[in-house]
Subunit: 369 residues, 4 copies
């Protein structure tokens, strides 16, 4: 080309290649720690109403993972959020066209965020004793964070499709660097898709950086709508390289790389870690769980954008819906890797001969021809 | 290979990778200027009867874009062009086989171009006050241009599948260089598909050069019929390089690169600009609009060739047909990027941190593995 | 890989890129000459009973092409070959499973070749005045050639899936070099798939070398059955390089490269020439013609192998079947390039600015990313 | 990428390219020898209950191949294994969902292995006079091997998805090196997927090393579940390179490379040998045989894992089921290469001009663009 462009790879393009002594999967640890919070499994739930109700968040925490509750979703706008989601799902079940459901989503999101309601809902999660993480957009972070701090959150997630350390324009909501410095809770921020933006975001003081905007074929459509695409294998490896660079320039500050996109099975979860992620965000595969409020449907938060929706409602059918516990920890009777995701990761690590997540980031990878 | 062949890429093969400070989309301008004519959006309508009726051209201009009216289509041959298109659409709706509709198209085009009729129709567009651009083929440019000038066109478009600065043969219609030099209106010419031909065409004095012949899977079939293919990402980047070379050799003459092919969504529109285009020609996505005379069908002008048609009738169904304004400027309730195309471009530019089209041509690109 | 393997390309992987002055298609010649025989179009019919009946061969010659009559097919085994093919087609029309039709084909081919019958049939073609080319296998070349010479053939085609200049084994039928030297008629031999074998075959004294074994998705299955595959773009370019090498080592003997595989449209015909072929063999696209005895079905001769068939019966449906003349010379009302194949080639050459086939072998090519 | 990753290729990505004198297929030998055991064809049956019943193992041996009997499957757990498989097949025939059949498989495998029963069944195969090979997992090798030796096996197969020369952990079953040294029967071990692990396994004293875990689209799902993938063309070539290295370091010990994965046709069997394998394991294509107990269904042993199944039941339909003899040795009336697999290999070798398997490992290969 007259322009240069680097070659990038999807998780589907890569394979894990064991080349060490195999290991008992009982000797494998899948735990990780973000700031003061320790988790048994490197799995976060994507902040969308299709997935993270307060109850889902509590169950996710109880199982050893972390749900990111969407602080700007329907639960923060409607006291009867569950009914509203019920209407949406009913419409999606009965309508072949995407547009009708998207229009309803847009309408439901036109109600304003109610800070009191948000505070109450978050306090409910908090009261259960699980680590409480709430997502806000960069635009609303300044307005909503006080409410969240008061409700007792442990982690603040500042997340948009693409965010940068600084934003240009009248609507500039926050300077992430000063905003984070002033906060007492650790911040996870994203999404970024390349090395440079990842490094800049690390420099804001974030405890974790999200790589990828939750891309998933058939539901998250940022690529179609904006032309902004991310090949997760490359993007994760890039962010992991930024993590190394930042570790070096700070003499030891380790920022967690959290991968969000194209992870549907135990195998893709393992590949995300193998590419360099410390943990991974799951959306669609968790939406299959009986506890997910989407009742068999998944959609990302961006599907509700008033003038430029970037997400579709995707049916996630598995016959009987398994429990979240079964999705994450098995046992599985699904041969295609949709159940026992963490068991799949654990066994992958064992077959490859690694005993913890950090080591497993060094496993051999190949790229398909 | 025993022969050398450069590797080329489609728009689908590339991704835009934001790596700068994000920006408010309100601070983004999508305007561009061709000679004395300024447009709010870098979007042209492809010169086919499926799309550009006189009324469609007027609406397109009113919205800030530019329609290229086909000076050799049915409106220039039949006083009741709308009825004729109606017959065609009715046949396409009822017939599974492509051949019947193509045969009718061929028959309808066997009527000669009526210069008086052409003049009247063009004058109608002109009278509305929008910028008036009419397309002629190289073969008929000499004969039809006087009519068009008299009707008051602002821009002349000389377009064929592939054209070159000079043509060899008895039927050589025009020497583009002398033809353009003698004209008072600016000329847009094309299509070209590579650097060399783009540069030669720039040297004829054209104000804009069209890259690509409107390739679109399922409708424009030049690749199948002639083996002549164009990978738009590479072709646009090549033409942009020719623009730089020509700028240098002339000490400052800037020829606009106009991309025509494989653009269906806001995302692909953004990619075309990101690859180096100044503006883009849309066909299929605009055919979904209620104002398009094809009533849900799209076909390129080459579908009517008497002995070697290179286009098929493609159904473009979206349930209710949106207005052209909604297709271009939203709001959208379609998650797959077919509505609010210019909004998608604008937001892509904002996420990538660029404030005008010219700058956005420098955004980072990656190529899928 | 632990082994080296060259990258190879299909015709579908490459595009023709015009970069010269366009030319009037009236000024383009598609003629070529093989030994003393001149043809208006660089098109041969594949030697299969699905295609080349005596009448088809005559019509093909009349139109300016060349049909290779299969000297070991049903016409050489059954006096009522047409009825036999009728039974086969009837069975194929009524049976979903491939196996039944293949079994019948095998049974029909278990009858021996009748030399008298073969002589009569060939004489019938000969009597029409068209250039008469008959295909035999290497195994039977020695036995059948005297019959064919007596019947007055102009060209002998010695063809098998893969042939080599010399064959090892008890059943070694002929030494091609001495066999060809002793003959008075020119010989076309093949198939070969790489540079080395092409060069060796040129050294036998053949007038033309066939590149490719007629690969075509869904019908010729040599890849599935034997693992022997050929990417036509690379294979043609390789054989053309062998032609240059042989031209140099002989001080001027030009052996024609004839491409056989994956050509279905005017576009792929143009690409085959562009890659370096002097002419191309067509199978499936000609089977659509009303004159083809397969009545809408195509199968290669290898489909009849008694223990290892390497071809399937492929339905070739186009609604009404066009005349062979229309398939080759148009006019076309099919937008996908299945009609007016030679017109497509001619126009491709014109757009690319070349006036004869030999020059067109130098046109620019690109490879898709 | 921030990480390096080698490019790897599937068998489907490569083509065999003949470039020598062709040869009579009567002069081609497909025999090979593993330790003291000679086989007419380089074909092993995958150790799964879907395929290898005692009777199937006997027929496979009689035809000149080798079946690996699964020492931990249903035949070792249930005296009425055939009935149990019948129930499973009936359920698979009647249920659209995979989960029900997998659940039943899991339940049937929850019964313990009965050493007496295993001994009896193996003795039955042994009594037929064919070479007797039984597969055990690394975990159970120590416990079950005495039973097998007593039953008179000729070859021990120690096989798991991925195994290594040494295993780390409490459950470490055996040190392969000392285990193999102490045995009187030769051992085949696997699977490995890369050069390093292959070399390590060769150093344990194994007579043969299995490359690949039986990957097959739609049935073996290790890639989906664990992210561990293997591109067979590259993996075989890697293991063959390890064979050369080991041959050199030992001054002449030749360890056989046995390819297991993605082989469905005569063509892919030929490619596996061409890439460097000495023999190949077949699963799905043999499951089509009338003798296969799966009655038209295939599943790998890993489909029965209690908490993380890595295999699905795949329907293998061919209308009437052919005999195993016809699958392996023909005659074929299937044009797509599913019958007469060894005939396809033989003919491929002949066309490429090689007379034995060892030589054929040097045939030219190309990789698709």
């Amino acid at each position: 080309m007259g322009r240069s462009a680097r070659r990038t790879y999807d998780l589907d393009d890569v394979d894990i290649v064991p080349s060490r002594r195999t290991r008992s999967s009982k000797q494998v640890s899948t735990s990780w720690q973000l700031d003061a919070y320790r988790f048994d499994m490197p799995v976060l739930a994507h902040p969308t109403d299709a997935l993270v109700s307060p109850e889902f968040a509590i169950e996710m925490g109880r199982l050893g993972g972390l749900a990111m509750f969407n602080g700007e979703g329907l639960w923060a706008r409607h006291r009867d959020a569950e009914d509203k989601i019920g209407q949406l799902v009913e419409l999606a079940d009965s309508e072949a066209e995407d547009e009708a459901a998207i229009s309803l989503l847009q309408k439901l999101h036109s109600a304003p965020v109610n800070p009191d309601l948000l505070g109450e809902v978050v306090a409910r999660i908090r009261a259960s004793g699980v680590t409480t993480a709430v997502r806000v957009s960069p635009q609303n972070a300044a307005a909503l964070t006080p409410v969240l701090l008061k409700a007792g959150i442990d982690l603040l997630v500042i997340q948009g499709t693409i965010i940068s350390a600084e934003h240009v324009g009248d609507d500039s909501p926050i300077n992430l660097k000063t905003f984070i410095a002033d906060l007492d809770v650790p911040v996870v921020a994203g999404a970024v898709t390349d090395h440079r933006t990842a490094l800049h975001l690390m420099r804001t003081g974030a405890a974790g950086v999200i790589v990828g905007y939750g891309s998933f074929a058939g539901t998250t459509t940022t690529g179609e709508v904006l032309g902004i695409g991310v090949r997760m294998a490359t993007a994760i490896a890039d962010a992991a390289a930024a993590r190394r660079d930042y570790l070096d320039e700070t003499g030891g500050r380790y920022v967690h790389v959290i991968a969000d996109g194209d992870i549907a099975t135990g195998g893709s979860l393992a590949k995300a870690i193998a590419c360099g992620a410390d943990a991974a965000v799951l959306g669609v595969p968790l939406a299959a769980a009986a506890e997910a409020p989407g009742k068999g449907w998944y959609w990302p938060a961006a599907a509700a954008h008033p003038s430029l929706p970037r997400g579709a409602m995707l049916p996630v059918t598995y016959g009987d819906r398994p429990s979240l516990e079964q999705v994450l920890q098995g046992p599985s009777n699904d041969p295609f890797g949709s159940l026992n995701l963490v068991g799949g990761l654990r066994r992958s690590m064992a077959k490859a001969g690694y005993s913890d997540l950090k080591e497993f980031q060094k496993v051999g990878l190949t790229v398909r021809g």
